[in-house]
């Protein structure tokens, strides 16, 4: 996955993501594609969650999945998550759950609960930082005011790091793939360098959801695992998503 929160010169916040999923779950040699990624594409839907006949939040989902991976609470915050691989991974959390230790939260359910219940960027950040999880993850959160955007690096039990936007330091965007931001990505899977090069080339002045779509359309940020691209703008709660293909030649991840 690749998630980005960016702030333009006028303080508008944009959040975009590529959802990449299905690695090592069967390769279709004939069509040069991952089997599960392809089969998930028809299941991608946008959801409008309503309460009292009013939109509470919106998301991009897979039909049949009741948790959330990508969402916006109109005028308050935007949220995505990226997978974090770790030896102390989800399997340990699942085993603990089976054996009755149930103080951790399932990732997709936490995302939905945050979008449902948090009423500010800060409140959402606190929940994402403090709630015990069953598996490690990266949460990418955007707010509605200048400087409100961060990557939360989570282990199962606690928050390891929070990297925030910092305009004074020239950090007008935060970008996460699937590696801790203080470490180099695996050389075989370096989507970060390409994505950051394109963000820097775009510049803060020209950043918009449209130019973020350009960044997310550049190989290898776009790759054979990419199922969908979502563009969000907190102001007005705009969310649009597109099912993607990566024509050959294209990296498998």
């Amino acid at each position: 996955c690749t998630s980005v929160v960016a702030e333009d010169d006028e303080g508008n916040l944009f959040h975009a993501r590529n959802l990449d999923f299905g690695i090592f779950m069967g390769w279709d040699v004939k069509n040069k594609s991952w089997i599960i990624s392809e089969k998930l594409k028809p299941l991608v839907i946008n959801l409008n969650f309503k309460r009292n006949n009013q939109t509470l939040f919106k998301s991009t989902n897979f039909a049949g999945y009741v948790g959330l991976l990508t969402g916006v609470k109109p005028n308050l915050f935007t949220l995505t998550m990226n997978e974090r691989f770790n030896l102390d991974g989800g399997f340990v959390g699942i085993l603990e759950w089976i054996f009755g230790k149930r103080d951790g939260m399932w990732m997709g359910f936490l995302m939905r609960s945050v979008l449902e219940n948090a009423n500010s960027y800060k409140e959402a950040q606190t929940l994402l930082v403090q709630t015990k999880l069953l598996a490690p993850a990266y949460f990418i959160l955007g707010g509605n005011q200048t400087g409100q955007g961060c990557i939360i690096t989570r282990s199962r039990l606690h928050s390891i790091d929070v990297l925030e936007l910092d305009l004074k330091l020239g950090r007008w965007y935060v970008l996460e793939t699937n590696y801790d931001h203080w470490n180099e990505p695996l050389f075989l899977d370096d989507r970060r360098t390409s994505a950051m090069k394109c963000m820097n080339q775009t510049t803060q002045t020209n950043i918009t959801p449209k130019t973020m779509y350009d960044v997310l359309s550049t190989k290898p940020v776009l790759n054979k695992l990419t199922v969908y691209t979502t563009l969000m703008q907190v102001s007005g709660g705009k969310l649009e998503s597109f099912i993607r293909d990566c024509p050959n030649p294209c990296m498998p991840w």
Partner: protein, 121 residues
């Protein structure tokens, strides 16, 4: 670049989406949180039932390829339905309703919903 990792110059003018990197737009559905958890996904699942069956079958085939005896799928079908009662509200109830509407084994729909935790292995 025609050798891996097939990097390219930064794309421009890709929006509005079109061409070979764009397959389709995504349709919208409404989930009414005021309706009972057992009802709120019915219309959507009725619409997407066939696509969901295809994905669940692909996951089942993958599990059977990993453990050809079929024991893994058997374990999912027997043990994961027990787990649904332990999931926080309203998620367990929603998952049960989805399995019923789609006509899928409950354990396999539970697996689909906890895939992130399973997959981070």
């Amino acid at each position: 670049q025609f050798i891996p990792p097939y990097t390219e110059e930064c794309r421009t003018e890709m929006y509005p989406p079109a061409g070979p990197t764009f397959r389709s737009a995504v349709s919208w559905y409404t989930v009414d949180l005021d309706s009972p958890p057992s009802d709120r996904w019915t219309a959507l699942i009725t619409d997407k039932k066939n696509d969901l069956l295809v994905v669940i079958k692909a996951i089942r085939d993958f599990a059977n390829a990993l453990v050809p005896s079929g024991r893994l799928v058997e374990l999912v079908d027997i043990s994961l339905p027990l787990m649904v009662e332990t999931l926080p509200k309203p998620y367990g109830e929603e998952i049960k309703a989805i399995a019923a509407v789609a006509g899928l084994p409950l354990g396999e729909v539970v697996l689909y919903n906890i895939f992130y935790e399973v997959f981070t292995v």
